[in-house]
């Protein structure tokens, strides 16, 4: 975090600036530190931790190493909402859209992701129970459908809209502000606290649903709670940052490879690793090509995937 605070396009000493700020001085450096860097780093850290936590919980729920929040249609639905709003919003609302874009687009993305999750949820429900296999299949299919809608929007978009949309799907913490941070924290913090308190139940789920029921876990209720909370919190995060893939999948795996599958360590450590990954990738995104910003989703994949592949290869030996 400190490294993130002290790096950026503007060269400044965070300690000096903080001391100046405490002594009542305000200038461009304090502004950069408090209004630009700090909310951005906190946002990146929180989203990273949230994605990693929900990722670990979903991997336990599905008992599938490939599970991650996007499987519930959150990122697919989010991009569908964003695409519809970018293309149709500018066409129908014109200047009003540009004025309110900062809130309308996240709102549309949030609505899109919730709709997709609801659809998947509905498809997988059978007599009050949720079949994990059906949930997986419905998730894959719904994501494909959302992808098609995004494609359709790309076809009718003009150049500006198409590029905005492409950048959205690559993810960025660039539009962070204290307000955005507050909105994400509103959903994210309670969910993170809740998940961190569930290591025993998640361990039980790993044994299998029948076994977990026999050991006293109300599986169906827990499943529904997990999915609802993930959809709400990650939906809110994705709405502001675009798609930040990969953390939700990889952070839990890296921790599992190093510290074993027990959720007591897995949950806090993956949250920590997720936050670190997000902050490191975002700081690099801001500084490597400054003043141009590299989409953070790209960097995460470029840095993280080779490392992850190396880990998998090593664990096979």
């Amino acid at each position: 975090m400190l490294w993130g605070l002290s790096s950026g396009a503007v060269t400044l000493n965070p300690w000096e600036t903080a001391v100046n700020w405490l002594s009542g001085e305000s200038g461009m450096h304090t502004h950069i530190l408090w209004q630009i860097r700090l909310p951005r780093i906190l946002l990146a850290g929180m989203v990273g931790a949230l994605l990693a936590l929900t990722g670990s919980a979903l991997q336990a729920l599905f008992r599938n190493p490939l599970a991650e929040p996007s499987l519930l249609g959150i990122s697919g639905g989010g991009s569908m909402g964003a695409a519809l709003s970018i293309v149709l919003g500018t066409t129908w609302l014109g200047a009003t859209w540009l004025e309110w874009e900062i809130w309308l687009m996240p709102a549309a993305a949030f609505a899109g992701s919730l709709m997709c999750t609801l659809l998947i949820f509905g498809m997988a429900r059978n007599q009050g129970n949720i079949g994990v296999q059906h949930l997986l299949l419905a998730g894959v299919a719904t994501n494909a459908l959302a992808g098609a809608v995004v494609g359709l929007m790309l076809v009718i978009a003009n150049d500006t809209q198409a590029r905005s949309l492409t950048f959205w799907t690559l993810g960025s913490f660039g539009s962070s502000s204290w307000e955005a941070l507050g909105m994400i924290a509103l959903f994210g913090l309670p969910v993170m606290c809740f998940l961190l308190g569930q290591p025993r139940r998640l361990d039980l789920l790993l044994l299998g649903e029948t076994e977990a029921t026999h050991l006293g876990l109300r599986v169906e209720r827990f499943k529904k709670t997990l999915i609802t909370l993930t959809a709400l919190s990650v939906g809110a995060a994705v709405a502001f940052t675009g798609i930040i893939g990969f953390i939700g999948l990889v952070a839990p795996h890296v921790v599992r490879l190093c510290c074993g599958p027990g959720h007591k360590q897995l949950l806090p450590l993956s949250a920590l690793l997720g936050a670190i990954l997000a902050i490191v990738a975002d700081t690099l995104a801001r500084t490597l090509a400054a003043p141009v910003e590299i989409p953070v989703g790209l960097l995460l994949a470029l840095i993280g995937v080779p490392f992850f592949l190396y880990l998998i290869r090593r664990s096979q030996k």
């Binding site: 396009a9 503007v10 874009e101 003043p291 840095i303 880990l311």
Partner: protein, 299 residues
């Protein structure tokens, strides 16, 4: 024991990767700093940053090209721009801190530039930001020119006079006005997009006594048959050389455009790219080219 050593090794590997990344980040920060100090040397005059091609083109036409320290990606194809200027990337994803690091005295952005939070952050840091409404119709051009000139404290009279004379010059609308196909390539020369009736380009055509060859709105990709069916009198392309479409001989070999009679007979016009997407100081030149073509005897 074995697993423990194995795990520790992984921790080491992860730590090593992190260290390399941190070092890389540190290096790039320093590099940025040294570039900046080089740019700082010399003058204490205005340091202008622009985002949006029309805004940049107005600054250039007002003779302030030398005061520019950075522009966005879309402004880099403008005629007369210093291509060694710092690049801000795509103008919808600007980075507030990157812009502040260049110590601008004035930031001129199109109303389409963003994200809005970045523009606000630049403003809040005490830098003067002027947002210029994107001139998508001919009547909005003078307002944009006036706003930029005001921000630079320069007279806009001569620029405005040329603009208004060119736009107001009456053109006899012939009974069957010649049609123009406005197209440009996105990504690769094979991905052709055609500008529809709501584009600034269509108004350019109308102001020069011609019409758009297509009837749809928006910007759409067109297949070979669709293109063939339009059979325009003229094909208009942006003057931008980056996509390899700015050469008549190459165009004749183009799999889609090469089918059109207009291309086969060389009725191809190249307009300044910025004029196809907005109204500003390049508009008079574009209108001149189109009117000349309209007056030429049909082949």
């Amino acid at each position: 024991m074995k697993t423990l050593t194995w795990r520790l090794r992984h921790l080491h590997a992860f730590g090593l990767v992190l260290c390399i990344l941190l070092w890389l980040g540190g290096c790039s920060g320093q590099e940025g700093a040294s570039k900046k100090s080089a740019a700082d040397n010399g003058k204490g005059g205005p340091r202008i940053i622009t985002a949006g091609p029309v805004v940049t083109s107005i600054v250039l036409h007002l003779g302030q090209g030398k005061a520019l320290v950075a522009t966005d990606l879309s402004s880099r194809n403008l005629e007369g721009i210093d291509t060694t200027l710092t690049d801000l990337g795509y103008y919808r994803v600007l980075q507030a801190e990157g812009i502040l690091a260049l110590k601008p005295t004035l930031v001129l952005v199109s109303s389409e530039a963003g994200p809005k939070s970045a523009i606000e952050q630049i403003q809040q840091a005490g830098v003067r930001v002027v947002v210029v409404p994107d001139p998508k119709t001919a009547d909005k051009g003078p307002e944009a020119i006036r706003l930029v000139a005001q921000a630079l404290a320069l007279p806009a009279d001569s620029l405005l006079k040329v603009y208004e004379e060119a736009v107001q010059a009456s053109v006899k609308q012939p009974a069957s006005s010649p049609s123009i196909l406005f197209c440009y390539a996105r990504g690769s020369a094979d991905r052709l997009f055609v500008l529809g009736t709501d584009s600034p380009a269509t108004q350019l055509a109308e102001l020069s006594g011609m019409r758009n060859a297509v009837t749809f709105e928006g910007t759409k990709p067109m297949g070979t048959e669709g293109l063939f069916a339009t059979q325009p009198h003229w094909v208009v392309l942006p003057k931008d050389k980056t996509l390899g479409l700015a050469d008549v001989e190459q165009l004749k070999k183009h799999p889609q455009l090469g089918q059109l009679d207009a291309v086969k007979t060389g009725r191809i016009l190249f307009l300044p790219t910025v004029a196809l997407f907005g109204f500003g100081p390049e508009t008079p030149a574009a209108l001149g080219i189109l009117r000349n073509a309209g007056n030429a005897p049909a082949k």
